[in-house]
């Protein structure tokens, strides 16, 4: 956990320095937040305590009806908490005018929530207008936001929501939520109603956006894979919004706190863990290569001297072209035109290990070529490398988790200690 936090903070500072005008997120603290509906015995949300750091994405994930949405809606007080405090950026907002509060918090919901009778531009301009921005400033902000979410301002500006696809609507919804540059963004299953391919795109977009903006994002979903993909930290909630585990995706995957969490993580935690590591993080092996321009004799020599059975033939731009085996060369009869097997799958250094494993599994020799930015060959990843890396990774996660557990226990012990002393003091006062 500590590692991830450190990197994200570093990233924020570095990019913050590059673009100093960008607002960064604010912290959110929930303290004993409870919602009890009249007439029902058990509270819907029971005493949630949570500290969310500035600029991080926290995912609230849990089964339907666990109170995750209720918890989210209490942050902008769409649902008034029965008791407990909410602090945003250190400021207690529990008793603030909710209308004013919500203008400082972006809010994006499932099925976008765009107003159908307003154009895209009018929808996005709503909050800037409400907080009194001038016409010119609002207008340029609308264009900027459309650009930010990847929609051409000229084309989409005057359209009505029903003239957009589901994914486009969702983008506009996010643009509207971010229009007044709020430090905090609440997202309530925003990608729940779009098809899987679009959802994947939107998730990538959100990650990219967050790299630029560093908002504090609280994101509700029931899809654990989405949580793993997006979250800096994930809070797994059980009924009444009790936090079963609040930790980094890595820690939850490798060291679920209890049966509930492991049940929710579902089968294949190790496979899901592969999604969190990139090819560039594992050892990429070198491989003997020749190019199509090399004379046939050189290729033979190379094959003999390299001591392997196989060479990778690269094309003129050094992109992987064919796998050449010794036997292929014997049958080549002076021309490489028909020799060897075409390389049908490569992965980039940014691909996840899961993609790499997929490619390795489908390759009949159990390896995949890794390519650089312009498709040029940089190395090879094979089954053995993957296996070793995964083992190392899981081992490291386990150690981290154990260490973290210790830290937590120490903290808890310290806290209890303080509390006892504090309570004693309060009682005296």
């Amino acid at each position: 956990m500590s590692e991830t936090t450190a990197t994200s903070t570093d990233g924020a500072t570095a990019e913050g320095a590059a673009a100093p005008h960008e607002t960064t997120g604010a912290t959110i603290e929930l303290e004993n937040l409870t919602k009890r509906y009249a007439g029902s015995g058990d509270p819907a949300v029971d005493s949630v305590n949570m500290e969310i750091k500035a600029g991080e994405i926290v995912i609230l994930v849990g089964p339907s009806g666990c109170g995750k949405s209720t918890t989210l809606k209490m942050i902008n007080r769409l649902i008034e908490p029965t008791s407990g405090r909410i602090r945003i950026g250190g400021e207690d907002v529990t008793d603030m005018d909710p209308v004013k509060l919500r203008r400082k918090i972006g809010y994006a919901i499932q099925s976008s929530g765009l107003f159908p009778h307003m154009t895209v531009a009018q929808n996005i301009a709503l909050v800037p207008k409400m907080i009194g921005w001038g016409k010119a400033k609002t207008k340029s902000r609308v264009e900027e936001m459309l650009d930010l979410v990847g929609l051409d301002p000229g084309e989409f500006h005057g359209r009505y929501p029903r003239q957009l696809s589901g994914g486009q609507q969702q983008r506009v919804g996010v643009a509207r939520a971010l229009a007044a540059d709020p430090p905090v963004l609440l997202m309530d299953e925003p990608f729940g109603a779009v098809d899987p391919i679009t959802r994947d795109h939107l998730q990538d977009e959100l990650i990219r956006l967050q790299h630029e903006l560093h908002k504090t994002i609280v994101f509700v979903t029931h899809d654990f894979d989405e949580a793993i993909k997006l979250g800096d930290r994930i809070a797994v909630l059980r009924e009444r919004s009790h936090i079963a585990q609040f930790d980094t995706p890595e820690a939850i995957l490798t060291n679920p706190a209890d049966d509930f969490v492991s049940g929710f993580v579902g089968a294949g935690a190790a496979l899901k863990r592969l999604n969190l590591t990139r090819v560039r993080d594992v050892e990429i092996a070198d491989f003997a290569t020749v190019t199509v321009d090399d004379p046939l004799q050189d290729i033979f020599d190379k094959l003999r001297s390299s001591g392997t059975n196989e060479l990778l033939l690269l094309d003129k731009r050094r992109r992987p072209y064919k796998w050449l085996r010794r036997g292929d060369l014997m049958r080549a009869e002076g021309s490489l035109a028909r020799a060897g097997t075409l390389v049908h799958d490569t992965v980039t250094r940014d691909a996840t290990l899961r993609d790499a494993l997929e490619a390795v599994l489908t390759d009949n020799a159990g390896r995949v070529a890794v390519t650089g930015r312009r498709g040029e060959f940089t190395g090879v990843v094979d089954m053995q490398t993957l296996l070793n890396s995964v083992h190392e990774m899981l081992e490291a996660d386990r150690l981290d988790a154990v260490e973290h557990q210790h830290e937590l226990q120490e903290q808890r012990a310290l806290l209890t200690h303080h509390e006892q002393e504090g309570n004693g003091g309060a009682a005296k006062a």
């Binding site: 919500r102 159908p116 709503l126 409400m130």
Partner: protein
């Protein structure tokens, strides 16, 4: 004297009556729209208040128009007053009912979104709920107007304005040579007015319903 001659002779009188008829209906519609939408806005969020408003206005509509005007005469006298009151009351039902249905039909997630981005109660109503509920409300207004066109004819009974005078005069002198012409002129006049109003509503709809929700 055939019908066309009659029209030629009396066009001055007929046009005045038609103008007064249209003017009475129009003014009553404006008042009924304001009151009806207000009632809708006040009651739509509560189940029982909404039903109460709908039931009350539909009860009003079941009172025969002649009786309603007859009952109003002793209270407010003859002439314009009973006409305006009766027409306004009759015009309420379609508007109130459509306003309630329209406002209740606004997608709750949109109201949630409006709240979530920091719109006040009033802003939500004016900027989101009413514009989205406007097409059904406008339909209510249209239905109401058609209805009032006919009912306004009865107003002549209370010496009110409009084409009803023509019809009542004709009925009063049945058997005379112009009786049929009078009734016919009054009735046709009302139909023509109704059609003109309807055309006007189509135009208003074009101008006021956002392209984003137009069917």
């Amino acid at each position: 004297m055939n019908f066309w001659d009659y029209l030629g002779n009396r066009h001055q009188q007929l046009l005045t009556d038609a103008y007064q008829h249209a003017s009475a209906v129009f003014q009553c519609m404006v008042v009924a729209t304001v009151i009806g939408v207000l009632i809708g806005v006040i009651t739509y969020r509560s189940e029982w208040a909404g039903s109460l408003a709908t039931t009350a206005t539909s009860t009003l509509l079941t009172i025969p128009s002649l009786a309603m005007i007859g009952l109003l005469i002793p209270v407010v006298g003859l002439g314009v007053a009973p006409t305006v009151i009766a027409l306004t009351l009759y015009g309420l039902l379609p508007i109130v009912r459509n306003a309630i249905v329209g406002l209740r039909g606004v997608d709750p997630s949109l109201v949630d979104a409006a709240k979530g981005i920091g719109m006040s109660r009033a802003a939500r109503l004016v900027k989101v709920e009413l514009p989205i509920a406007w097409p059904p409300i406008l339909t209510g207004i249209r239905v109401s107007t058609q209805m009032l066109m006919g009912i306004a004819a009865i107003a002549a009974y209370a010496s009110g304005p409009g084409l009803g005078n023509e019809i009542f005069r004709g009925i009063g002198s049945l058997g005379s040579k112009n009786a049929l012409n009078q009734v016919l002129a009054g009735t046709l006049g009302i139909i023509v007015l109704a059609l003109l109003f309807d055309a006007a509503y189509i135009l208003i709809g074009r101008l006021t319903i956002s392209r984003g929700i137009r069917v």
